[in-house]
């Protein structure tokens, strides 16, 4: 188990380094990173300021050293300056993390609560009308663009019916502002769960030991939840990494559509203002979150299923 954890930890660190290297190389694609940092072709900048910036960015040193220096700054919490207002980025992050976490967490809980039972019942009643509904729910959730679902939700519930607000988090804690964004994101997440849980359940229900339990006369609720589901839940856990990736993409869509004041919205605004430094920080933050969640899922998985530790 320890060897497994160490191996996974190394892979996680490698991924983070890879993300850092990616961001660094993108900033150098155009050759001189100063072009990116100074908007409007550096209009009104004197030669001295231009050279001064080169010194600040250590452009006189070899590229690997530059990367090292930049990495060192990151590790010390120096995330650079926002190009739009010349303020430090690091102090802006904490207030954006809250809304993103609240939305993602409520959607995650909701999608588990919806997705897992639908997946199980769909598998148990295979080929029946409820199964078709379950599968349609999953297929729609995966084929509909999340941002469009959000817009149609706004159109129906905010514009036409006027029941719910069309966006933002509202003042204080307002549950009404959560309903549409959470449901939009949860549908997408639940769709993934339904597909995974359903196929895993079908496989387990077909196995010998479940058939034996049924022949022995175990009542169907115990059979489904205690015997079958416990084993079927392993497969969705392995693929939870893939689901999480989808979740991150989904939260970016939802924050955009609902003007949710979180990290992803920050990123979208950065695209509109060509704000590279902000995007660079966000790539690192999201990669970090993603790597951490994946790591935890894998550890949990290895803990539940010993076969994984040795493969």
């Amino acid at each position: 188990m320890r060897a497994f954890i160490i191996r996974r930890l190394l892979t996680s660190i490698l991924t983070l380094l890879g993300a850092a290297l990616f961001v660094f190389s993108v900033s150098r694609i155009l050759g001189d990173p100063r072009v990116l940092l100074l908007p409007d072709q550096a209009y009104g900048i004197t030669q001295e300021q231009w050279d001064d910036l080169a010194r600040q960015l250590h452009l006189d040193k070899p590229i690997p050293i530059q990367f090292g220096i930049w990495l060192g700054q990151l590790l010390r919490g120096d995330l650079g300056r926002d190009l739009a207002d010349r303020q430090l980025i690091a102090p802006k992050i904490p207030q954006k993390v809250g809304p993103t976490l609240k939305l993602a967490l409520s959607a995650f809980i909701l999608s588990t609560l919806i997705g897992v039972p639908i997946g199980v019942f769909s598998a148990v009643s295979r080929g029946s009308i409820p199964d078709y509904f379950g599968r349609a729910f999953a297929l729609f959730g995966q084929a509909l663009p999340t941002f469009w679902v959000g817009i149609v939700g706004i159109l129906i519930f905010a514009v036409w019916l006027g029941w719910l607000p069309s966006g933002t988090m509202g003042e204080g804690f307002s549950i009404k502002h959560y309903i549409l964004p959470t449901l939009t994101l949860a549908w997408f997440g639940a769709a993934g769960y339904v597909r995974l849980v359903r196929s895993a359940m079908l496989e387990v229900l077909d196995s010998e030991y479940v058939k034996l339990a049924r022949a022995k006369g175990v009542n169907s609720r115990t059979l489904i939840w205690k015997h079958a589901f416990k084993n079927a839940a392993i497969a969705p856990l392995t693929l939870s990494g893939l689901l999480l990736a989808g979740f991150i993409t989904g939260s970016i869509s939802v924050e955009t559509v609902f003007a949710w004041p979180g990290l992803a919205r920050f990123g979208i605004e950065a695209v509109w203002t060509n704000n590279f430094t902000v995007l660079a920080v966000l790539v690192l933050i999201f990669t970090g979150a993603f790597v951490l969640l994946n790591f935890l899922a894998d550890i949990l998985y290895a803990f539940i299923d010993p076969r994984i530790r040795y493969s």
Partner: protein, 303 residues
């Protein structure tokens, strides 16, 4: 006596299970991907012959036609079947040209990504060792960085364009193939026929291309089909947030963004492009599922 009995056993004719009438038609729909195939077929034909089938040009605007509703609602005309957008461009025409862009970008990125991913999977699986380790860690890194943010950062630096989009989507595609292809190659390379080919003096490229590749091609086709829908969605989203193909090029994602601020007055501008994306992705997913069940059921746990 025994002989006769046996004979009569043999003569029992196997009843034909081919159903006729309505149940036969239903069976046909169950067996073949008729609906998704039709949707995709129509889409491809319409995309290829866009200049001939679209009623207007994609950039032709008319101030008089601003925000014309779809033909079946009040104030709509048959001239603008699905209505017109805020500057009076025909929605249907833009949807048709949008299909052209979406499908072309998807196809080019998919083919590039598939070739690169499959090749890397073949190499990693066949040679093993250090090359394998490097390729697999590269895959881990790529799967570990959220794609959308990566594409947003690149779009800001390189400028949003058709080329940037295709390169980014190809980058999204390749990593999905490597692991599965590698796994298959690992078992294929131990087979006797590969050893025999080697003994017979087959060159390395020949072994890889003629003997191993055919063994993994089913997996590749299935993954590619399942991936194509994701590519359409990714392209639409990037164009929606303005990090994709720049306007005025008609793309489904950008059209949804165009209509966002006019939901109250002209809901159709955002609505129909979303439906187009939905039907396309749905058809591709169905086709992918069908191919998977047909060609490579072991991939079932892949979403």
């Amino acid at each position: 006596m025994a002989q006769a009995e046996l004979q009569s056993d043999l003569e029992v004719s196997i009843p034909s299970y081919r159903a006729t009438g309505i149940s036969g038609v239903l069976q046909l729909f169950n067996r073949w991907p008729i609906i998704p195939g039709t949707i995709l077929g129509v889409l491809i034909i319409v995309a290829v012959f866009a200049p001939w089938v679209s009623p207007h040009g994609p950039y032709v605007n008319s101030l008089k036609a601003r925000n014309t509703p779809p033909m079946w609602s009040e104030g709509g005309t048959t001239e603008y079947i699905l209505g017109a957008d805020v500057i009076g461009r025909d929605l249907l025409s833009r949807l048709i040209y949008g299909a052209r862009i979406s499908l072309m970008v998807m196809a080019i990125a998919l083919v590039t990504g598939t070739i690169v991913g499959t090749a890397l999977g073949l190499v990693a699986g066949y040679f093993g060792g250090l090359i394998d380790e490097v390729i697999m860690r590269l895959v881990d890194i790529f799967l570990g960085i959220p794609f959308v943010l990566m594409a947003m950062a690149v779009a800001v630096v390189m400028g949003a364009s058709l080329t940037t989009m295709m390169v980014m989507l190809a980058l999204l595609t390749w990593s999905g193939f490597v692991r599965n292809v590698r796994g298959e190659v690992l078992s294929l390379r131990e087979r006797d026929y590969i050893a025999l080919a080697r003994i017979a003096g087959a060159s390395l490229p020949r072994i890889l291309m003629m003997h191993i590749l055919p063994g993994v091609i089913n997996t590749v086709v299935v993954i590619a089909t399942l991936r194509s829908g994701q590519l359409i969605l990714a392209e639409a989203f990037l164009s929606f947030i303005g990090a994709g193909i720049p306007p005025p090029t008609p793309t489904w994602g950008a059209m949804i963004a165009d209509g966002r601020n006019y939901l109250r007055d002209a809901w159709w501008i955002s609505f129909f492009p979303g439906l187009a994306i939905f039907f396309t992705v749905m058809a591709l997913n169905f086709l992918g599922d069908w191919l998977r069940d047909k060609l490579d059921p072991r991939l079932r746990q892949l979403t």
